[in-house]
Subunit: 309 residues, 2 copies
């Protein structure tokens, strides 16, 4: 099954509270796991949520505040102890890559898997391009350089109508092209329009990660058209000034960004530890953008489904 | 109250399981907190067990395997965010100190507290000497250089008998000396033996941390006379060969070390994730050394009390 879902491993901010763990989530795209941010405890969260170490291939780090990447040495060492093979690529700002490389090359040299580093910057760029998915960075606006990530499923193939393929006796070698949208030309030279041979492809889905950032209209512009947006909501309206001073966002601001982007769904996260729950965050965001849910550790969101209103 | 107790924050080995966290414990000595080993999640464990960041002053790291020290950057950053003042001294092998210093000086420069490094080696040496406590290192025998730690309460003052002090009208300036054991000489030159003026001091307690290590009789010799011993028990008897090959101990071997040392109590920990519980560890150790308990996350042991048989 072409699954595309996000698992929340940690949605707290800065210091861990008894309610939330530091930033970490794992996107499962067709059974290939990609982690976004790796706060302390990421390795344990994967076990808790039964996300297999063997399937992890990419880790994206948004910025170099400890609560977003101090889980890397432990996770990467554990992957080695588990005998993981293949390649793990860490997409991270340069200073983080240097630190991580030195850490791993000092304390975890015996690795059965390849560890690769991809230096990212706060810019618009496709940093991963596979057969079926792209991952892009875009700038966030925080106290230190920060990047958001957009994962976009590539357009899928149209569905071939078996009856029509049989009727026209289309050679197998042409079928892939037809699924990609080509018309069929019969041996007699008759053009059969693609629409007669296929039904529309399944929709492609997309997901954006926006954390950490101050409210800035450019963020909404960067993620315009993305279906599901995860956005930091460190504070509530009453603490709007605090949010601005610390280059964080309120839940309302997250909702304004989602609305500006024309998203279908918003997931709030990265809560300050100063609240006893997130009901206020949720209420304030929903007043602006109804299809909002609040992240919590263990939450799994199917990115291929429409929001349940 | 002169409390002296140990709090177990993590007693698993290498990779975290769903049952145990990586190595970490906090000794509370008269409300002064000293951490031994700092596996990932240490900062969260302190919160869970209501151990105040503000009281933490020393961190001792036994060896440089990630499961024993990868929690340091997160914990030390969180102390900074919490506005901790005073000094935190990390006692650690040289390579670890270099890494930690570089990490903190890159990613956590704004620290309201002083962070000091004390380089330790696998040798017999007093590394901390306060008015009321000493901490010593001693060699352990693992795949990498490793040190155990012994915390010894210094001898306490004898209890002054108020009635006798009054009877002899002893000047206040002499009382401390008498509590330390001095006789009293009256103005007339009569010597009053200390035993008549005081009752015995409360006993002094001691605690040793032995993890990670292969079974080696020298360990028992190093901790001889220590009251409570925490000893790694990664494996059970059936996996004795595995223990030896990986420079770890079985529960029975931990018990043999405790017996050799003449300890009053043994705490087992550092369990391999390959067991579903520690009942077998406990049974095997108790057959050799009855006063054995099994560590678990959240356990608090009062080191001033006799083991409850």
């Amino acid at each position: 099954m072409a699954n595309f879902e996000v698992n929340i491993l940690g949605c707290g901010s800065a210091t861990p509270s008894l309610r939330h763990l530091p930033a970490c989530q794992v996107v499962d795209f067709r059974d290939n796991l990609m982690m976004i941010d790796c706060g302390e405890g990421a390795q344990l969260g994967m076990r808790r949520q039964r996300l297999k170490y063997s399937r992890l291939s990419h880790i994206f780090i948004s910025h170099l505040h400890g609560d977003h990447f101090f889980g890397l040495p432990g996770l990467l060492s554990t992957l080695a102890l588990h005998g993981k093979t293949g390649t793990v690529t860490v997409h991270i700002f340069e200073q983080g890559a240097e630190w991580l490389k030195r850490t791993m090359d000092t304390f975890c040299t015996d690795r059965p898997y390849e560890l690769e580093y991809d230096i990212i910057k706060p810019e618009h760029r496709v940093i991963l391009d596979t057969k079926s998915l792209t991952v892009e960075t875009f700038p966030l606006y925080h106290r230190v350089p920060a990047a958001g990530f957009i994962m976009r499923e590539k357009p899928k193939l149209r569905h071939l109508r078996g009856d029509m393929a049989k009727f026209y006796n289309i050679p197998v070698s042409l079928l892939h092209g037809i699924k990609e949208g080509a018309d069929y030309v019969t041996p007699e030279g008759t053009v059969v329009a693609n629409e007669r041979l296929t039904s529309p492809a399944d929709p492609s889905h997309s997901y954006a990660y926006c954390s950490d950032t101050i409210f800035d209209e450019r963020v909404g512009g960067s993620v315009r058209g993305v279906e599901t947006i995860y956005h930091e909501a460190t504070y509530i309206d009453a603490d709007k000034d605090k949010a601005a001073a610390r280059f964080h966002s309120t839940a309302s601001q997250a909702a304004m960004t989602a609305r500006e982007a024309g998203a279908r769904r918003l997931i709030l996260g990265h809560y300050s530890k100063s609240y006893t729950d997130e009901s206020q965050h949720l209420a304030e965001a929903r007043a602006i953008f109804p299809d909002t849910i609040a992240a919590t550790e263990g939450l799994r969101v199917d990115l291929t489904e429409s929001p349940a209103d």
